[in-house]
Every structure is written in structure tokens, then in C-alpha cells.
């Protein structure tokens, strides 16, 4: 069962532009959402999170938006840099479980 979906397997943007990565979930019990970034041959690293009591969380160039009614979250990276090229996983959790999306491969071109 795919409770967390990232429908875009890949995204390519130009350096300096905005990258928008999207994620949808189906379980309304999820109340905490995270984005992880993964480089080849490394484990996922935590990037940013948001609680369901908020609709926006910002950390430097990274902003996560949560639309609870649509069960949708997005990660904005502004401005995008070549070092941001990686696979980005969104994750959603409740008290008992965390589910990951399949990931979106972001390529930032110089």
C-alpha cells in the first residue's frame, strides 16, 4: 500500500531557479512530515520537517509547505544549487509508523 506518494520520479532545474518537490499522502492520521535527502552510496539525511499544526516551515533555502485538506506537502528549494542534486524522500508518520515515498531525483544544472 502506497500511503505516501511522490509522483515525479525526477526533476531537472537550472541553478538559481526554484525546485519544487511534491508529495501526497492518504492516511489522515499522519501528523508529522519529513524530507530526507540521499546522495549515492549514502543513507538518507534529514533535511526539514513539519508538524501538522503548521502549514509552513522554513530553514534557509528550504521551505516545506503542508496542505492538510489536500493531504499534500511540498519542498521548495530557492535558489537551487548543483550540490542539491540528490534523491529526495518525503516521509509521513503518526505515533506508530513512518512511511516513505519512492523518492524524486533532483538534478540542478549549472
Amino acid at each position: 500500500d502506497q500511503q505516501v506518494k511522490q509522483n515525479s520520479p525526477s526533476l531537472s532545474v537550472q541553478e538559481g531557479r526554484i525546485s519544487i518537490l511534491n508529495c501526497d499522502y492518504t492516511n489522515s492520521m499522519f501528523d508529522y512530515f519529513l524530507w530526507y535527502k540521499k546522495y549515492p552510496a549514502e543513507g538518507p539525511t534529514f533535511l526539514i520537517s513539519i508538524s501538522s499544526i503548521k502549514d509552513k516551515n522554513e530553514d534557509g533555502r528550504f521551505t516545506v509547505f503542508l496542505n492538510k485538506s489536500a493531504k499534500h506537502l511540498s519542498l521548495h528549494i530557492v535558489p537551487s544549487q548543483p550540490g542539491d542534486s540528490a534523491v529526495y524522500f518525503c516521509a509521513a508518520s503518526d505515533d506508530n509508523d513512518m512511511r516513505f515515498g519512492a523518492g524524486t531525483r533532483l538534478t540542478v544544472k549549472p
Binding site: 505516501v4 534529514f46 524522500f89 515515498g101
Partner: protein, 116 residues
């Protein structure tokens, strides 16, 4: 602060052989997770420990997979016997406190398993 350590990093075995992976979580982290990540998919939770007790092993194929965390620190995951479809990256993660409840998980580099 040292991160989550895993070994080996790579393993190639033939089907029906046995294999074991080791994980040492971040010091002081009570919760430890093992994930299986098949190529092109997100990590799938296999088992979750709270100290040395199992919290969730509902997605662990118990006929061939086993895991333990005897002293509540490091953990081993074993596959016996391996099947071709077990080829994946096995990720270990740890978090500071209770499972769920808005805890950030910190991942190790993973063990890439290829079953021939």
C-alpha cells in the same frame, strides 16, 4: 557526534546462502530501525526496536529474516536463506526517544546486498 554505523557496506551472495548485517546506532538513541530499500522505491520498515524490545516487526518476513538487539545498543539483521528478491539496500536508523511521536530518524550509510 558519530553517526549510525553499518557493516559491511556491500555484500554479494548466492541464493540460499545466509548473510548478516550489523548496525551501531548513535550513542544514547533508544530506538533502532531496520529498513529495506529496493531500487526505485522508498525505504520500507522491517523491524523497530525500543531499547532491546521489538516495537514493530509486522513487515519482517519472519520465515527468513531475523533481527536482535540483545543489549539495547547495536543490532544484527540476518537473512537465512536469501532469495533473489532480497537484493536491496538495508538501512539502519536510530532516533533518540520513543518511536513515532515526531522523532527524527538518523540513517546509516546502508548495506547493499546483491543475491545472485
Amino acid at each position: 557526534e558519530a553517526g549510525v554505523a553499518q557493516s559491511p557496506r556491500y555484500k554479494i551472495i548466492e541464493k540460499r546462502q545466509s548473510v548478516a548485517f550489523w548496525c551501531n546506532p548513535i550513542s544514547g538513541h533508544a530506538t533502532l530501525y531496520w529498513y529495506q530499500q529496493i531500487l526505485g522505491q522508498g525505504p520500507k520498515l522491517l523491524i523497530q526496536f525500543q531499547n532491546n524490545g521489538v516495537v514493530d516487526d509486522s513487515q519482517l518476513p519472519k520465515d527468513r529474516f531475523s533481527a536482535e538487539r540483545l543489549k539495547g545498543v547495536d543490532s544484527t539483521l540476518k537473512i537465512q536463506p536469501a532469495k533473489l528478491e532480497d537484493s536491496a539496500v538495508y538501512l539502519c536508523a536510530s532516533s533518540l526517544a520513543l518511536a513515532g511521536a515526531q522523532e527524527t530518524q538518523y540513517f546509516g550509510p546502508g548495506t547493499r546486498l546483491l543475491v545472485l
